[in-house]
């Protein structure tokens, strides 16, 4: 399953290289000195508790968040130079399904394709083929507002890959998909990575991250607390599953206590008692 263990000792140019990345919002520090190099063909499982700074890192790389300190280089170029051309080679699936849902999938995907610099007819045709492959051919001309959550997610996935990007930033890309679609999409990611694409995968579902990633980066409180293949992480922490490793590294061991207390509180003063 691992797609090439070349985390250390790499001689090729990194596609993403982050040095000393700090970021604070007005009241708190979100990132405290992230250093990171990512190479072609890697599937990075980017995990961490809520508020650890995962989305912020991704948004900085996309140019959506500014005001950071440190350097972020993508394809060897510093992204703060104001040239947005590097985004042409990036695909992005945001965490929340933000899209123009009063458009039909045809209109939306064609529009996104054009923004990425594709020709209208090419984008339209390609989107139609991809929609068909994900069983959405009938919905292609319906308004996205009428879609189910899973259908919207598929549209977002297609929108992120339509222009054949070299880096994919995915934030919970499988949310809302049914089991069959999950298998298809996971296989798509693996195949893309084997072709040299880089995938930056944030998720809270540890089983998937464990299986799909060639390298796992665990972020906690704005710091990288673990970085390596799943095998390496398991060795370090002597835990069986990624979920357990996650709990251990983020110092969380009270889940049983909290759960039982939670259930107790639910029982208090219920209106129908």
């Amino acid at each position: 399953m691992p797609k090439g263990e070349r985390v250390v000792g790499n001689t090729e140019e990194p596609v993403i290289s982050i040095e000393g990345l700090w970021m604070n919002y007005s009241d708190r520090m979100v990132l405290r000195g992230i250093d990171l190099e990512v190479y072609r063909g890697q599937i990075i499982g980017y995990i961490g508790p809520n508020g650890a700074g995962k989305s912020t890192t991704v948004k900085i790389m996309l140019g959506l968040v500014e005001g950071y300190s440190g350097s972020v280089r993508i394809f060897g170029r510093d992204i703060s130079d104001g040239d947005t051309a590097y985004k042409r080679r990036i695909g992005y699936v945001p965490e929340v399904a933000e899209l123009y849902d009063s458009l039909s999938a045809r209109e939306y995907l064609t529009f996104i394709g054009e923004l990425y610099g594709m020709k209208k007819a090419d984008a339209e045709l390609k989107a139609e083929k991809l929609m068909g492959l994900l069983n959405l051919n009938k919905a292609y001309d319906m308004r996205i507002a009428s879609y189910s959550k899973g259908m919207k997610q598929k549209v977002l996935l297609i929108a992120s890959m339509l222009h054949d990007p070299d880096i994919l930033f995915l934030d919970e890309p499988l949310s809302g998909l049914d089991a069959n679609s999950v298998m298809v999409v996971k296989e798509i990611f693996a195949t893309l990575a084997a072709r040299g694409k880089t995938i930056f995968y944030s998720s809270h579902i540890m089983d998937v991250v464990e299986k799909i990633s060639s390298r796992i980066i665990l972020l906690d409180g704005g710091d990288i607390v673990a970085d390596g293949t799943f095998a390496q992480l398991r060795e370090q922490s002597r835990e069986g599953s990624l979920e357990e490793i996650f709990n251990q590294l983020t110092g969380f061991d009270k889940y049983r206590d909290i759960a039982s207390e939670f259930v107790a509180v639910i029982g208090e003063g219920a209106p129908h008692a």
């Binding site: 919002y25 007005s26 009241d27 708190r28 996309l62 140019g63 959506l64 968040v65 500014e66 005001g67 947005t84 051309a85 590097y86 985004k87 042409r88 990036i90 992005y92 945001p94 933000e98 899209l99 123009y100 849902d101 009063s102 458009l103 209109e107 529009f111 996104i112 054009e114 923004l115 990425y116 610099g117 308004r143 507002a145 009428s146």
Partner: protein, 554 residues
């Protein structure tokens, strides 16, 4: 996706955008998508059976008949063939007033929008193009609105005054729209630069109030330009004319069409051209900064804003029903936090605050204070209820309208109490404080003899609030997405509400003519209030006003 006429028009001018450093193809595409979306309706959670024409695709440019109608009246100002500076300054002050208030109440959300950024800016679109698309999007609407409003007089002027006047007028309308847009944007930028986090969000609303007050007062000053003497109108130059944009726009007519001369007029006329151009250049330069500063609005400050104790107390005092009290508190806190609601309603707060005084001071200006004190001018306080019109109408909208599924899920006995709690919350949070403030000033101006009248006004306004609510089509609070296209459907009922308000003031006036009539009126109003607050919110029996959910069968 249609190819809009406006876009074809823009194609002719694409060199401008290219010169300004935008990627025109991308710009055009974004605009096309935006305009298409504006013409479409987003189905609401409750729209199951209520709106059979769900997929109706209206043009975003449907004519606003009200504006056209009002525009017809402007012809009167364009008709005289002398004193251009007077007539045209007045004209522009009216137009600027209308357009600016519309801009700050309806388009502030678009200007300060962040949702787009994640979709568009994660793509290789440069910042300048994105910003320009946003500005042009707004400008297109402003121009459509302005043209509807000024159209009749514009056309009339061509026949009355000839081509020179016509082209000057048309050019100035465009300059004026640009000026208003850029000026407002720069004001917002200034605030975005200086404030942070939660404070920024509040300040923006205050600035909206200040802007609308400023525009209203400014428009009033224009009519003070001239000394009305027995022999007609005189224009005496004064320094403060330079601070009034409508006068800038009036000056070129006097110079070019009227053939007048003078340094004062020339400077004013130059300002009409120079000020918009300079501001526009500054705006283009500062646009990236604007976009970057906008990000601040997205930051969630760890705001521990009050625990809602006031709302709790008030809901206990005013609502006997549990559901009613619950929705009182819900509406209260939503009004406090819903940015979109605040952005749309606060400009009207400004208007409602200042309009009663404007009318009073108009009289102070022309008459003596003693006469005012004895008069019934305090009835102008009825204008403060304009606020209710907007507030009640806006309560149905929310950015998080999808959260309205909660109405379907909770075991609600009916909607009557939801509406009553909602209405009470608006009245207590917005109308009562505003009214108290104005009544206090009025009492200072008119003396204690109007105490009974003020009490009557308060009761009448409470009555009016229910009428406002009844006149608008019903919608659960914060359950719909705001769509400009839909709002036009409300102009009719808004018009009716204006008449109702005027009617209430009229009745009040009649009662003041009868000795001790005001006390009779008070009794009648008290009875009417008790009746209507009860009658309008009866538990639904016929099923006609049941929770729309039940029929939507989601």
């Amino acid at each position: 996706m249609r190819d809009f006429f406006v876009l074809k028009l823009l194609d002719r001018m694409q060199w401008i955008f290219k010169a300004l450093g935008a990627d025109y193809a991308v710009l055009r595409r974004i605009l096309q998508v935006k305009l298409t979306m504006d013409g479409r309706r987003t189905p609401t959670i409750f729209s199951g059976t209520q709106e059979p024409k769900l997929n109706m695709e209206g043009s975003p440019f449907r004519v606003q008949w009200l504006y056209l109608l009002l525009g017809l009246m402007l012809i009167a100002l364009v008709a005289p063939a002398d004193n251009y500076i007077l007539t045209m300054s007045l004209m522009f002050s009216i137009v600027m007033f209308m357009i600016t208030t519309t801009l700050i109440s309806d388009f502030s959300t678009v200007m300060l929008d962040l949702r787009d950024k994640n979709i568009l800016f994660s793509k290789p679109v440069d910042r300048r193009t994105l910003n320009m698309a946003k500005s042009i999007h707004i400008l297109i609407y402003l121009l459509t609105l302005t043209l509807t409003f000024t159209g009749p007089s514009l056309l009339f002027s061509l026949f009355r005054h000839g081509a020179l006047f016509f082209f000057l007028y048309a050019a100035e309308i465009i300059l004026m729209d640009g000026f208003i847009l850029v000026f407002t944007a720069l004001v917002y930028l200034l605030i975005l630069r200086f404030f942070d986090g939660e404070k920024l969000k509040d300040i923006i609303n205050y600035v909206q109030i200040i802007l609308s007050v400023g525009v209203t007062v400014g428009a009033q000053l224009v009519s003070r330009l001239f000394n009305i003497t027995e022999f007609g109108l005189n224009f005496t130059p004064a320094w403060w004319h330079f601070a009034l944009p409508p006068v800038w726009f009036g000056a070129p007519f006097e110079l070019l069409v009227g053939g007048a001369e003078g340094r004062h007029l020339t400077i004013l006329a130059v300002l009409a051209l120079a000020a918009p151009v300079v501001l526009f250049a500054a705006y283009i330069r500062l646009m990236p900064l604007f976009e970057r500063s906008l990000q601040k609005l997205a930051e969630q400050g760890a705001s521990g804003q009050g625990t809602g104790r006031i709302a709790r107390r008030l809901s206990e005092i005013t609502c006997r029903n549990k559901v009613e009290a619950m929705f009182f508190r819900f509406t209260w806190s939503m009004m406090k936090h819903e940015r979109e609601f605040k952005l749309r309603v606060y400009p009207t707060v400004g208007l409602s605050l200042v309009l009663p005084f404007i009318f009073i001071f108009n009289q102070v200006w022309s008459g003596d204070m003693a006469a005012i004190r004895g008069s019934r001018s305090f009835l102008f306080i009825y204008y403060s209820a304009l606020l209710m019109m907007t507030a009640v109408q806006m309560l149905r909208y929310s950015t998080s309208y999808k959260g309205a599924w909660i109405y379907k899920v909770i075991p609600l006995p009916g909607t009557a109490m939801v509406y009553r709690g909602m209405l009470k919350a608006v009245v207590l949070k917005l109308l009562v404080p505003l009214f108290t403030l104005e009544a206090a000033v009025f009492l200072g101006l008119f003396g204690s003899r109007i105490i009974a009248d003020m009490a009557a006004v308060l009761l009448a306004l409470l009555l009016y609030s229910v009428l406002c609510f009844l006149l608008f089509p019903r919608a659960l609070p914060f359950s719909e997405k705001y769509e400009a296209a839909r709002r036009k459907e409300f102009t009719g009922s808004a018009f009716v509400q204006l008449f109702v308000l005027a009617g209430l003031a009229g009745i009040h006036y009649v009662f003041t003519l009868i000795p001790a009539g005001i006390y009779i009126y008070l009794v009648i109003l008290a009875a009417a209030n008790t009746w209507i607050w009860h009658r309008a919110f009866l538990p639904e029996d016929s099923g006609s006003s049941r929770l729309p959910t039940l029929r939507a069968g989601g």
